[in-house]
């Protein structure tokens, strides 16, 4: 276990904790995205590039896109309009 993979594993753990603990849904989705990006780097270090490609495309790309679209559908992304009305 070299230094880089240890750093990446620690990064994944911290990201997972923050995803659970943040209040803002948008922030947690973006952190989840970065977590799966680190995961794909770990797959590369474990010499399985096919899994890395899939993780980067599905985990970082499409899953977070689906989450974004869902948040937009249920109007959960808070805009910074003055009356606190949820927009976009």
């Amino acid at each position: 276990m070299d230094f880089l993979s240890m750093m990446l594993l620690a990064f994944i753990l911290i990201c997972a904790l923050i995803v659970c603990l943040t209040r803002n849904l948008l922030t947690s989705i973006i952190i989840l995205m970065s977590q799966s990006l680190a995961m794909s780097v770990i797959w590369i270090l474990l010499e399985s590039p096919d899994l890395a490609i899939t993780e980067a495309a599905v985990g970082a790309g499409v899953t977070s896109l689906l989450f974004f679209v869902t948040l937009k559908k249920i109007h959960a992304i808070e805009g910074d309009s003055k009356d606190g009305k949820a927009e976009r």
């Binding site: 096919d50 490609i53 499409v62």
Partner: protein, 340 residues
Amino acid sequence: MAKLRDNYETSLWARFLRWMKSGSKGLERSMIRALEEEAEPSQHSEAEQLALEKAREEREMQDHERERAIQERLHLWSKTRGARLMTFAYRLAAVVICLAVIFVLLSSVSMLPEFGRSDNPANNEVAARYIEKGIEETGAVNIVGGMILNYRAFDTLGESHVLFVAACAVMMLLRLRLDKDGRPTREKLDAEADDRKYEPHNDVILQKVSSLIVPCLLLFGIYVVFNGHLSAGGGFSGGAIMGAALILYVNAHGLTRAGRQPLFGFKVFKYITFGALAFYSLAKGYSFFMGANHLDSHIPLGTPGNILSAELILPLNIAVGAVVAWTMYSFYVLFRKGDF
């Protein structure tokens, strides 16, 4: 003559002259106008628009009243005795089920073999055999590809069916259907209007760059799928790349324009998913049947390293890739708009 002059205003030469005179700003404006016109093909007259607005307002009022009635009923119901009993039973059942699951999991963990024993399933002869005889038996240079599509093809069939079932479930929950008369329902119209609001009508930069990148991404995905038995990759990775490329296209050009492409329809999705899964099941069923009865399946193994080798792995990769790509695209479109 008058007609000729009318034509002259919109003719190519006149537009070119106008463009030359107006500099870059005119170009931008004309591009924006063209894109906006394309985005909203149906132009209603004012009276029709007013009538539509009125109808929508009435429907919203009705909706509001219905919602309030439902909420009142809910409020009344939550004060009755049955509701309290129901809540109690629900909580009790939740605790009992949770304890049962914990018990089952712990008992199965206690029955697992000891960690690190020499006769554990992890160190038995299967992995060694995959590595030693994989190329010889499956004809695939990529051992992982040979494993998941030859030795364990049944697993992969299950995985593709998981995707198919997920797409079916999303379609059941989120798809907005047509009326009995074949007209779109109110929810569908509202969803389309809501979606059109956020579409990037006139982002020229995104459209130009995406029209450069999307073909490259699709080509890369196809390469990964077709090379699944030779190098790292395969149906799932290549399908994910192709699905991401399709989603990028939809995001850049808008759903109205993507809907006109022949590849993006609901019918194409239906046929491709069904065809790929049916082909997978039939081909693998044939191969399993012949193998179990010690018959020759007459599928050539080929020389390892050629693109046409490794008996069924290449067509199975293509089938899995098609299922994954179209499922991903349909997920995105269903989540966003509720229809193809």
